[in-house]
Symmetry: C2
Subunit: 350 residues, 2 copies
């Protein structure tokens, strides 16, 4: 798979399938693993990092074949595009030295190599499918483990570069759309509650990213002292509670100010369908309202998959890749609006 | 013609025909006349006012037959609806005692009876057709003059209840759409210039009304010491200057910020086509942007006539008349949005 092949495809985790996918965009499980013979990536020499890559790519060649993209060969725009696709972290994007990513065609499975840890195995699935993501991540890990061994201590579990990942090395998360709780101004209280349950609430791009389009990433804080299944169970529980709270908020809104909510949804649809300029923030806000409208069953023909795909494809580096040149901000706003409008027009009467 | 017949019809001055009708909504000429045998309306007794009505209605019966609506028989909502149609003034609406209006089927000709003056003959035409309006007003006056004589002094001209109308008794005005000058923030200077030329700039509903939807009514200040033709020539001149200024402003905008302007137009069209709630102010602002878009030839199938008609039909008393009951403000916003949306949908792909 070439880089262009990758960009042309739409990751399967964006297709809007899976349980409760009008609320839960995606479920993700990632496992941090390290090779026992080498220093952690931040201490390893260039030569050692090259060797790590060689081992991992060789191991992969014998299992399910993933395509390897060498971050030092990709240019800055290509790396930024991979961040937009949630395939690599900003740390891998901006880092130095030998590093890269293995990824399959569906993009539901990827392995960052020489990011903070030697391996970061990541599975993303559409909708509320944390268990399925966990199963797939375990399979991928098992495939690699046939050829590789991982740094492990009977006392601490999997050893990782940062102690916050030690133990299971697992981070499980969901990306959830909570416009109801934002509108009823309950989100602050909800975040406090979720935090007390040992989870972290962040924006769309994880640590340090702003909340945009009422999308929240909820992931486990703790990796140590709990088994994977305990973590997954707790995430399942917290997600179901969030869904219930969001549903209650929506019921309240539809009871109290139904026509304003419907109006908000249709204004947003009207603008997405006709605007000639859309900033990234405008797109996220408008598509949040349309996504809410899908949840409220106000539309017949719009599906969350369309919005999910647009969410990634309207990001700056994706727009530039599509047009084939650098774009300044007003140009991006124009191309973004064109793309949204065309997709909405394809849906016909919603 | 019954009141219901009147409401069902759309006044011909809203049909978007006539010169420069994307800029000039309508042209209006009104003549203030009084019967010589009677006191001015504000001093006349009820009996005298009844007699005035009898004379005028009898005179009308012999000329072009207009329908007479007795303001004391109409209820408050019906009178308010006639204000929305620009057929009667707030003074006639809210006044007391015998008074009413004569109006023809096309609504291009009407005569208020016992408003400030005994007769206020009004002709309204679509587009920039002040001369045609003047000709039609003279004909109507001549028809009435076959049966009636009007208070006239060789020295002062036509005598009127308020000295500001004495002389020609004529007020000529245009209703013009100047979004370009508003956007380029030149409107204040333009109003100063127009005022210096002896014209008054007001909102959509004349004296004391707010400017709404970038629509300005420009009318002559002076009725005395100038002939009708001088007034009409001056209005023609000031209107052509306004059109030129507006055109320059639009050229500047389309040169400097073309994509923002197009975006503004399409956002507005998108919202008008999809919103579920529209306040009156929102409707006026959005339809102003769409009207600008028509002027800029961004649409194929939308015509100003549609917007003109909606401008009147989305007013509160018209909405209530259509639904057949009183509506509170949120209900009106819903019915207004439904109406705008249906009309936009009828246009298909703009």
């Amino acid at each position: 798979m070439t880089f262009d092949d990758l960009v042309k495809r739409t990751a399967s985790w964006l297709d809007g399938s899976g349980d409760l996918s009008t609320l839960v965009i995606s479920s993700r499980v990632r496992l941090a693993r390290n090779l026992p013979f080498s220093k952690f990536a931040h201490l390893a020499s260039e030569a050692e990092k090259e060797q790590i890559i060689t081992c991992i790519v060789a191991a992969n060649a014998k299992g399910v074949p993933l395509s390897y993209f060498d971050a030092t060969v990709l240019d800055a725009s290509q790396r930024a595009l991979l961040v937009e696709r949630h395939l690599i972290s900003p740390a891998l994007e901006k880092g130095t030295g030998p590093r890269g990513i293995l990824v399959n065609e569906q993009e539901d499975l990827s392995v960052m190599v020489n990011e903070e840890d030697h391996l970061r195995i990541q599975v993303m699935q559409s909708g509320f499918q944390v268990d399925e993501a966990w199963t797939a991540a375990r399979c991928a890990e098992a495939d690699l483990a046939r050829e590789l061994s991982f740094a492990f201590s009977e006392k601490w579990g999997y050893l990782t570069a940062c102690p916050s990942n030690t133990g299971t090395g697992m981070r499980a998360s969901i990306l959830i759309h909570l416009p109801g709780l934002v509108l009823t101004q309950e989100m602050e209280g909800v975040i406090r509650g979720v935090t007390q349950m040992g989870f972290v609430v962040r924006g769309l791009y994880g640590e340090g990213s702003d909340v945009s389009g009422n999308l929240f990433q909820v992931s486990n804080q703790i990796t140590l002292g709990r088994t994977e299944l305990e973590i997954l169970e707790a995430l399942d529980k917290v997600t179901r509670q969030l869904i219930q709270c969001e549903q209650n908020a929506r019921d309240t809104l539809m009871g109290d100010i139904r026509s304003q909510i419907e109006d908000k949804v249709w204004w947003a649809f009207g603008i997405l369908s006709h605007a000639r300029l859309l900033s990234s923030q405008e797109f996220m806000n408008l598509s949040s309202a349309v996504r809410l409208g899908i949840g409220l069953e106000l539309f017949d023909s719009i599906e969350v998959g369309t919005l999910n795909e647009l969410m990634v494809r309207t990001k700056p580096y994706h727009l530039q890749n599509q047009v084939g040149r650098q774009l300044d901000s007003p140009e991006r706003d124009r191309v973004r609006a064109d793309m949204a409008r065309r997709r909405m027009a394809e849906l016909g009467n919603p």
